[in-house]
C-alpha cells in the first residue's frame, strides 16, 4: 500500500487524477477500521491531513461552508447556532477521541447509511463541494449525493472539499437510536428541520434504507397541513392526528433490513416515534420564538 501525502489541495487533486483508486484519508476513523478488519486494502491511501483549509469553516450570509475535515468536536462547539441539527448529530458520533478526529467529509465519502451526519444534512439542505483536476469544482445537492449502499455521486478523480449547509432559519432536531447510551452505531436515526422562511419542513432518515433518505411524502403532507391550518402564522399546537400521520409517513419512507443491530420492523417503528417527538420539539420551539416575536412587535 502506498501512502500519498500531498502538501496542497492541487497536489491532492493531481494525485487522485493519477490514482483514481486512491482512498482519501483524513481523521481515519472509518478508513482505518476497514483496513484493520481487512475489509479493504486500497492500493493507495491519499492523506489529506497536510491540507489545512479542509479543517476550516466560513459562516456566510445564508450558508456555512464546512471544510471536509472539520472535526465533529468543532461543529459541536462552534456551529451550534448555525447548524443545530448537525451539532446534535455530531454529539452522537462515537467517542470524544473519535469526534476529535472525524469529520463530515468522511461520512460523505463512505456514504454508509449509518453515518450520523447524513440525516442532519438532508434535513438542513446541503450541497457537497467536490473537485477534480480535470473539470474543476461542482456542487452536488445532498438529495442527489447518495446513490446506493456505500456509494455516492463522486467521480473517481474527484475529492470532497467542503459541504455547504444552509444556516438554520428555524428549529432543528436530531435523534438516534442505538442499543447503548453512548458510542454506538445507529440502529436508525432521524433529522428534522423547520424552514419558516420557505414555510417548509425537511427530514432525513439514517440506517433505515439502503441510503440515507428524506421522507418526502411525509414532508409534503406536513407542509400542506401546516399551510392549510395557517400554523406558520397562528403558531397553534400541531394536532396529534397530524403528528401521527407525519410519523406514519416517515415510517413508510423506510426500507430497512433485519440485521444484528435491530429488526426492520423495529426500525420502521422507531423512526415513526422519533419523527413524532422531533416534530413536537421543533414545533414547540418554533411556537416559543413565534410568540416572543409577536409579543415584541
Amino acid at each position: 500500500m502506498d501512502f500519498l501525502r500531498p502538501a496542497s489541495w492541487e497536489e491532492a487533486l493531481a494525485a487522485k487524477a493519477e490514482h483514481p483508486t486512491a482512498v482519501p484519508i483524513a481523521g481515519g476513523t472509518d478508513v482505518m477500521v476497514e483496513i484493520n478488519f481487512d475489509h479493504r486494502r486500497p492500493e493507495y491511501l491519499l492523506d489529506l491531513n497536510r491540507i489545512g483549509d479542509l479543517s476550516e469553516w466560513e459562516v456566510g450570509a445564508d450558508t456555512v461552508r464546512l471544510g471536509a475535515s472539520v472535526p465533529y468536536t468543532q461543529i459541536m462547539e462552534n456551529l451550534r447556532a448555525e447548524l443545530p441539527g448537525l451539532a446534535l448529530a455530531s454529539h452522537t458520533v462515537a467517542s470524544p477521541q473519535i469526534r476529535n478526529r472525524g469529520g463530515v467529509g468522511g461520512n460523505l465519502g463512505t456514504a454508509s447509511p449509518a453515518g450520523d451526519a447524513h440525516p442532519a444534512l438532508l434535513a438542513a439542505g446541503a450541497e457537497v463541494e467536490v473537485e477534480s483536476a480535470a473539470r474543476g469544482t461542482r456542487l452536488i445537492p445532498i438529495d442527489a449525493f447518495y446513490t446506493g449502499v456505500k456509494r455516492n455521486a463522486l467521480q473517481p478523480d474527484e475529492l470532497i472539499r467542503a459541504v455547504h449547509v444552509r444556516k438554520a432559519d428555524g428549529p432543528q432536531q436530531f435523534s438516534k437510536v442505538g442499543t447503548r447510551n453512548a458510542m454506538v452505531i445507529a440502529v436508525c436515526a432521524f433529522g428534522l428541520a423547520l424552514h419558516p422562511v420557505t414555510r417548509t419542513v425537511r427530514t432525513g432518515i439514517g440506517s433505515a434504507a439502503p441510503t440515507p433518505v428524506r421522507a418526502e411524502a411525509a414532508e409534503e403532507f406536513l407542509n400542506a397541513a401546516l399551510e392549510e391550518g395557517g400554523f406558520w402564522d397562528n403558531g397553534k399546537i400541531i394536532t396529534p392526528s397530524v403528528a401521527k400521520r407525519f410519523a406514519d409517513l416517515c415510517s413508510a419512507a423506510c426500507n430497512p433490513i433485519d440485521d444484528v443491530r435491530g429488526t426492520a420492523s423495529y426500525r420502521r417503528h422507531a423512526v415513526g416515534v422519533m419523527a413524532r417527538r422531533t416534530l413536537t420539539w421543533t414545533w414547540e420551539s418554533y411556537r416559543g420564538t413565534h410568540r416572543t416575536t409577536e409579543g415584541a412587535a
Binding site: V33, N36, F37, D38, L88, H91, T92, Q173, F174, S175, K176, V177, G178, T179, R180, N181, A182, M183, V184, I185, V187, V260, R261, G262, T263, S265, Y266, R268, H269, A270, V273, M274, R277, T280, W281
Partner: protein, 794 residues
C-alpha cells in the same frame, strides 16, 4: 465495613501497617490507567517471528484438502504447520476432556477453528500468507440446538467418545448430564396453592476482556521452550502443552506476562501450543497476538441456556417444590461444560429453602462456538431464571417480591438440593433487607432547571426522549455462588515464602504461580505477609512454574486458596524464625519459652507487647524459606443419579436492587442505579472488594441489556465478532453502584473470608430484568433484552 462476627483466630500482627483489612493500592494500578503497564501483547524479542492462525470459515465440514504451497513460498515465511506436522501422538488438549484438536484433523466443528499456523518475519506477512493457504471443505449439516443434537439422524459432533461421561449421558451429543432429586416433587406439588412455570433463554455472553490473547514462545538451548503468557492458570496450561510438544514438563518453562482481564476466558488454551510449536520448528522466538476479531473466536464464551422452571408455593408464601430443566449449549468442544453443568444443577434452586426438588441440567455438543468458563459459571443462567420465577410467584400471591424472598431465604443450616448443609453464615434475608433499605434515587432525576438532561435519560446524548414515554421500574434479585473448585476436585495452592534481612531490614518474598488477572491477589498476598510476619517490605515474585501450582484464578477462589497458602507458608516461616530466636536468645529471657510470640514491626514481641529482639539479630545472614501446598476442606462428587453429595466448599451471596428508566415507546433502557449488598466474610482489601462488586455488577448489567454473541442458527457462524456490534457497557451505561458490605466470618476459611468476585455477576442481571418488567409490565423471558423485545417489533 463492620468488624462484627470477626473470626476469633486472626493469627497475629493485625496492627502491622499495610496488613489485611487495609485498602492498600494495586502496584499496577497507576501504570494501567496511564497506559504504561506492559501487557503480554507488548512483549518483544530480538529476532522474533510472528505467528498467525488460519481459522475455519465454516462451522461444520470435512476437510478435503489443505494446500500450503503458496503460503510456504511467500518471502518472509519461516514455517507453515498443519495437523500432519504435530510432533507427537498427543494432538488434542482440553481442561477435563481432551477433545480439542491443536489443529483441525479431517474435520472442523465450529466457525473459527484453528486449521493451520504460519510464522513469518512480519505480522502482515504472516496474515497474508495464511490467507494463501487453500482449504477445501465439504460442508456437513450443523447441530445448533437440543432438537438438532438429539434428533434420531443427528450427526455426532464427536464420534468414538471415550470420556468418563459417555456412560451416563442419554446421547453422544450431550457432554454431561446431572440430575438432582430430593424429597418428592409430586407429593409436594399437591400442597401448592399456586404454581408458576416459565421457559427462559439466556444469550451467549463474551468475557470481552480488554487485552486480547497473546504470548511469546522462546526456544531454549536445552531443546525446551519458555512461554511468556497471559493466562489464568500456568500449571493447567503446562499440563496440556508439554505432551503435545513431546517435552517433559520441566522443559516447558512458563512465566506469567501482563494479563488484560480474563473472566474465565483464559482458562482454556488459546495460542499457547501454537506459539510453542512454531518456536520449536523455526528455532526462533515467536509472538502471537490476536486482534479483537480473532479474540471472539479464540476463547470460549458463557453458555447460552434454555431453562424450564416450575415452582409451587402455599398461599402464605412458602415454597413447596421446584422442578427445572437446564439445557446449556456447550458448543463444539467440552471445555468446562461438565463443571458448568454441576454448578447449574446444584445451584438451580437459588438461595432458598425448598425441600422437594427435581432438577436436570445438561450441556450439549453442537457446532456453535465452544462455551466454557465465565464469571458466575452456570450459576448466572440459573439465577436469571429462578429470580424471574420468584417475582412471578410473589405477583400471583399478591405479595411484595422482597418479602416473598425473605420468607423463603436460606440461612445457616439450610440443606442444598444436593443434601449438603450450608455450614457458614447465609445472610440472604439480611442482604435483601439492606438493599431495600437504601434510599431510592429521586423520581424524574433527569429533570433540570434547563429542561431534560438527556444524559440521565434512556438514549443519552442520542437525544431520543426528553421524558416522553419514560417509566421507572424497580427490581430485586439475590443469588448464590459456590467458591472454589467443587465435586471432589483437589483444589490446592502452593506458596513459597522467604524471609531474610536486607540492609538491616527484614524483607519477605512471596512466590506463587497465581495468575494476577486483575483480581488483586498481588495486593492481598503482600498484605497477608505483612500481617503474618510483621514486616513492612514484601516483594511479590513474578508468577511462574518454578514454584508449585496455585490453581486457577477463577471460581472466586484465589484469595481463599492461594491467600490461604500464603498465610500458611507465612505461619511456617514465622515458626522457623522463632525457632532460630529461641535457639540463639532463649536463655536470655524466659518469655522466649513461655509466652505467645509474635512478629511485629521487624521485632519479636510477646503477646503482652514486650520486645524480645530484632529480627535482624535473629536472622543475621540466614534466610528462612518455606514452600508448601495448602488445601481447603475436601469436597465430594455429586451422585450421578440423585445429585446428592457435599460438592461445594463455600457459598457466596449478593443481592441487588435495580432502578431503571425505560423509554417504553422506543424500548431503550437507562439503568439509574444498581445497589448491591454482599457478604464477604472478611474484606482483606476493602477497596478491591468494592471494585470486584462494582465490576461484577456491571458485567451483569451488560448481559441484561446489550451483550450477546449472535450466532446464525442456519450456519452456526458468528455474526458480530467485534466491539462494533458486540456492545459492552460504557461509563454512560454504568449506573451509580452503592455497595453495602457485610462481614460475617466463615470459620472454615482463612481470616473468615468469602470469595467475592462472582456473586455480584449473578443477581445484577435478574434485578435489571425485574426492574424492566416492573416498568413495562412485559413478561421478558430472555436476556439480553433488546429494544425490539420491549416494543413488540422482534
Amino acid at each position: 465495613m463492620q468488624a462484627e462476627g470477626a473470626p476469633t483466630k486472626i493469627t497475629q500482627g493485625s496492627r502491622t501497617k499495610g496488613g489485611i483489612g487495609e485498602s492498600t493500592l494495586r502496584p499496577d494500578g497507576t501504570l494501567k490507567v496511564t497506559g504504561e503497564f506492559a501487557y503480554s501483547s507488548d512483549m518483544w524479542h530480538e529476532d522474533m517471528l510472528w505467528g498467525q492462525i488460519l481459522r475455519s470459515t465454516v462451522a461444520h465440514a470435512e476437510i478435503v484438502s489443505i494446500d500450503t504451497g503458496e503460503a510456504l513460498a511467500t518471502p518472509g515465511v519461516y514455517a507453515v504447520l498443519t495437523y500432519d506436522d504435530l510432533p507427537t501422538d498427543v494432538r488434542n488438549y482440553g481442561l477435563e476432556i481432551q477433545d480439542t484438536p491443536v489443529l483441525a484433523h479431517g474435520k472442523v466443528r465450529h466457525h473459527g477453528e484453528p486449521v493451520a499456523l504460519v510464522a513469518a518475519d512480519h505480522p502482515e506477512t504472516a496474515r497474508r500468507a495464511a490467507a494463501k493457504i487453500k482449504v477445501e471443505y465439504r460442508e456437513l449439516p450443523v447441530i445448533t440446538d437440543e432438537k438438532s443434537a438429539v434428533a434420531p439422524d443427528a450427526v455426532l459432533v464427536h464420534e468414538n467418545r471415550d470420556d468418563h461421561h459417555i456412560g451416563h449421558v442419554p446421547h453422544p451429543n450431550i457432554v454431561h448430564r446431572q440430575p438432582i432429586v430430593r424429597g418428592n416433587v409430586d407429593e409436594a406439588r399437591r400442597r401448592a396453592d399456586v404454581i408458576v412455570e416459565g421457559e427462559y433463554t439466556f444469550g451467549m455472553q463474551d468475557q470481552a476482556f480488554l487485552g486480547p490473547e497473546s504470548g511469546l514462545a522462546v526456544p531454549e538451548e536445552d531443546g525446551g521452550v519458555h512461554l511468556y503468557i497471559a493466562t489464568q492458570w500456568l500449571h493447567s496450561d503446562l499440563r496440556q502443552i508439554a505432551p503435545v510438544l513431546g517435552l517433559p514438563e520441566k522443559k516447558v518453562r512458563m512465566t506469567l506476562s501482563g494479563v488484560g482481564g480474563a473472566f474465565g476466558g483464559r482458562e482454556d488454551l488459546s495460542m499457547q501450543i501454537h506459539a510453542c510449536l512454531l518456536a520449536l520448528r523455526t528455532g526462533k522466538p515467536v509472538k502471537i497476538v490476536y486482534n479483537r476479531f480473532e479474540s471472539f473466536f479464540g476463547h470460549v464464551h458463557r453458555h447460552p441456556a434454555k431453562l424450564h422452571y416450575e415452582h409451587g408455593a402455599t398461599k402464605d408464601g412458602k415454597l413447596t417444590h421446584m422442578k427445572c430443566r437446564i439445557v446449556l449449549d456447550g458448543g463444539a468442544y467440552a471445555s468446562a461444560s461438565p463443571a458448568v453443568v454441576g454448578n447449574a444443577s446444584s445451584l438451580s434452586a437459588g438461595p432458598y429453602v425448598v425441600d422437594d426438588v427435581d432438577i436436570e441440567a445438561i450441556a450439549l455438543y453442537t457446532n456453535n462456538p465452544p462455551c466454557g468458563a465465565m464469571r458466575g459459571f452456570g450459576a448466572v443462567q440459573a439465577c436469571f431464571a429462578y429470580e424471574a420465577q420468584m417475582d412471578k410467584l410473589a405477583k400471583k400471591l399478591g405479595m411484595d417480591p422482597v418479602e416473598f424472598r425473605r420468607l423463603n431465604a436460606m440461612e445457616q443450616g439450610t440443606l442444598m438440593p444436593t443434601g449438603q448443609p450450608v455450614d457458614s453464615p447465609a445472610p440472604v434475608a439480611e442482604l435483601l433487607r439492606r438493599v431495600k433499605a437504601m434510599p431510592l434515587p429521586p423520581e424524574r432525576q433527569w429533570e433540570s432547571s434547563e429542561g431534560a438532561d438527556v444524559r440521565q435519560l434512556p438514549g443519552g446524548l442520542s437525544n431520543t426522549t426528553h421524558g416522553e414515554g419514560v417509566v421507572r421500574g424497580v427490581g430485586y434479585a439475590v443469588g448464590i455462588k459456590n467458591v472454589g473448585f467443587s465435586e471432589g476436585f483437589d483444589d490446592y495452592s502452593t506458596a513459597k515464602v522467604r524471609m531474610e534481612v536486607v540492609g538491616g531490614e527484614p524483607v519477605a518474598t512471596v512466590h506463587t504461580a497465581m495468575a494476577e488477572v486483575g483480581q488483586g491477589g498481588v495486593t492481598v498476598h503482600a498484605q497477608i505477609a505483612r500481617t503474618e510476619l510483621g514486616v513492612t517490605r514484601v516483594t511479590i515474585h513474578p508468577a511462574d512454574t518454578q514454584v508449585g501450582s496455585a490453581g486457577s484464578t477463577s471460581a472466586s477462589r484465589q484469595t481463599y486458596v492461594t491467600g490461604g497458602a500464603v498465610k500458611n507458608a507465612c505461619e511456617l516461616v514465622r515458626e522457623k524464625v522463632l525457632e532460630i530466636g529461641r535457639r540463639k536468645f532463649g536463655s536470655y529471657h524466659p518469655a522466649w519459652a513461655t509466652a505467645e510470640l509474635l512478629l511485629e514491626g521487624g521485632k519479636v514481641v510477646t503477646d503482652g507487647g514486650e520486645i524480645l529482639g530484632d529480627l535482624a539479630d535473629v536472622l543475621e545472614d540466614e534466610a528462612v524459606e518455606v514452600e508448601e501446598e495448602w488445601r481447603h476442606r475436601p469436597t465430594e462428587a455429586f451422585d450421578l443419579r440423585t445429585g446428592q453429595g457435599n460438592g461445594h466448599v463455600q457459598y457466596s451471596f449478593a443481592a441487588h436492587r435495580a432502578v431503571v428508566e425505560v423509554d417504553t415507546e422506543l424500548g431503550l433502557v437507562k439503568v439509574i442505579e444498581l445497589a448491591c449488598a454482599q457478604d464477604v466474610g472478611k474484606a482483606l482489601n476493602p477497596l478491591s472488594v468494592i471494585g470486584q462488586i462494582q465490576g461484577g455488577t456491571t458485567q451483569g448489567l451488560g448481559v441484561a441489556v446489550m451483550e450477546e454473541i449472535i450466532v446464525d442458527p442456519k450456519t452456526a457462524k458468528v455474526r458480530n465478532p467485534s466491539f462494533t456490534d458486540y456492545l459492552i457497557p460504557t461509563i454512560l451505561d454504568t449506573p451509580t453502584i452503592p455497595v453495602d458490605v457485610l462481614e460475617l466470618a466463615d470459620e472454615h476459611a482463612p481470616y473468615g473470608l468469602r470469595g467475592v468476585g462472582e456473586a455480584p455477576t449473578l443477581s445484577s442481571t435478574p434485578a435489571v430484568l425485574a426492574a424492566i418488567r416492573n416498568a413495562t409490565g412485559l413478561a421478558l423471558d430472555r436476556t439480553p433484552v433488546r429494544p425490539e423485545h420491549l416494543t413488540g417489533t422482534a
